[in-house]
């Protein structure tokens, strides 16, 4: 799979999660990664399952949904190019909190959660940067969720 590396390198350097790392750090990450093509409609992972890999979307969109009895799979968020999905794999045992399905044909970089964690252990500086970035991803995710919760367009709410 070595031949894929220059491609992965480019994809990683374009993603907000992994941009602006030094070359050595990017190379290490590349070694922990693979390119993952996902045709439209394909399930990337399922809510409740253990998953070691986290994904950086290079192109295409992924729908994140949760299963709600009586309502089926409810789509809560669409992630797109540059976004990180399946982050649970980076910080825990990787039990997925949502189901991810490709909304269109996607290309993703799949990073091994275990390998990345090991990298972070051995290179605390990389670990620090990645964890800060992960925190940023999560904080954006929380903000977006809060804005959803506020239901700003509800009838009788703001007239806009």
């Amino acid at each position: 799979m070595i031949h894929q590396q220059p491609n992965i390198l480019k994809m990683l350097s374009e993603s907000r999660f992994t941009e602006n790392l030094n070359n050595q750090q990017l190379q290490s990450l590349c070694r922990a990664s693979r390119v993952h093509s996902l045709p439209a409609g394909t399930i990337l992972f399922q809510e409740g399952e253990l998953e070691d890999e986290v994904f950086v979307i290079s192109s295409g969109h992924v729908r994140l949904s949760m299963s709600v009895p009586g309502r089926g799979n409810v789509v809560l968020l669409t992630s797109g190019p540059g976004d990180l999905v399946g982050w649970s794999g980076l910080i825990s045992d990787g039990r997925m909190t949502a189901t991810a399905v490709a909304a269109d044909d996607c290309v993703l970089v799949a990073l091994s959660g275990k390998r990345v964690r090991e990298l972070c252990e051995t290179d605390p500086q990389l670990g620090y940067v990645l964890m800060i970035r992960l925190a940023r991803v999560l904080s954006q995710r929380i903000l977006a969720t809060r804005l959803q919760l506020l239901d700003l367009f509800r009838p009788g709410g703001d007239s806009r």
Partner: protein
């Protein structure tokens, strides 16, 4: 100087249902000379008047260069807009205007222009879109990011394809999950988050929607490298007189009716998140 309280009679020449509770009313001033003289800049509003019920400030949602026809896209919210909703083609109402500041279309030349709209907030931005479509070559990338509570709230949805065809990119999102919706889910800031921005320094962003949405849109834009000075918001308070004399629409040092509704973000950023201001 003419009396700023004087109303003119305007006839509804076309009424189009848009999203639930929202319709577009194309008005025409009944007086010929007034009709010819009427001009507005994108983002300005009129006071629409229903006798016995009062006035409501409504943004003009039409094409600034189309003479004589003044569209307003109105959501039923209070007594006046409710009364307007019961009117039909041929009915008349009172009109004063146009009032207020406008979107800085004159600053957009040769820049990437991003419009971020929430719900009916697209209506005050539509004149800018008309301007982009007419003068597409004057601008670089033109993008409309449109969010709504659910897909049924996507204003002017039937026009999106036409806009795209004519070079204005339109990305839409539904705030909430919706059955049968295969488009993007999530608030509109998430669209801005991942919008390719090769040259953020040249970008100019205009946003209109709920105040909280605009604030976080601006925050996201700044995080993406767009300068506060290149972000414009359209604020809302209750405009009563529209001429800066009644005090209702004050927001910090500003009278929204005459200093606004459109503000450069950096001029209002310091007071936007002070509660109950």
């Amino acid at each position: 100087m003419s009396n700023p309280w004087q109303l003119s009679s305007a006839r509804i020449v076309e009424k189009t249902a848009e999203t639930p509770g929202v319709a577009t009313y194309v008005l025409q001033l009944t007086d010929d000379s007034l009709r010819r003289r009427f001009q507005f800049r994108p983002g300005q509003f009129n006071m629409l008047y229903v006798p016995g019920l009062g006035e409501a400030a409504i943004s003009i949602s039409g094409n600034p260069i189309q003479e004589g026809l003044i569209p307003h896209t109105i959501r039923e919210a209070g007594n006046v807009t409710h009364a307007i909703s019961s009117l039909s083609t041929g009915d008349t109402l009172g009109l004063r205007g146009p009032f207020g500041s406008s979107w800085p279309t004159e600053l957009c030349e040769d820049r990437d222009v991003i419009l971020v709209a929430g719900g009916i907030g697209l209506a005050p931005l539509r004149p800018v879109i008309f301007d982009m479509l007419s003068n597409r070559d004057r601008y670089r990338r033109c993008t409309v990011l449109m969010g709504a509570r659910d897909p049924s709230g996507l204003l002017y949805e039937s026009d999106y394809e036409d806009w795209k065809r004519r070079g204005v990119d339109v990305l839409v999102t539904s705030d909430r999950p919706a059955d049968g919706w295969h488009g993007n889910v999530g608030v509109v800031t998430t669209l801005l988050d991942r919008l390719p921005l090769p040259d953020p320094a040249s970008a100019l962003l205009m946003t209109c929607g709920p105040e909280v949405m605009m604030w976080y849109t601006a925050q996201t834009a700044v995080a993406r490298g767009i300068a506060e000075e290149s972000i414009y918001v359209s604020l809302e308070r209750n405009m009563n007189c529209a001429i800066g004399l009644c005090g209702h629409c004050q927001f910090g040092p500003h009278f929204l009716c005459k200093d606004g509704p459109v503000f450069r973000f950096d001029k209002v950023a310091s007071i936007l998140r002070i509660s109950d201001l």
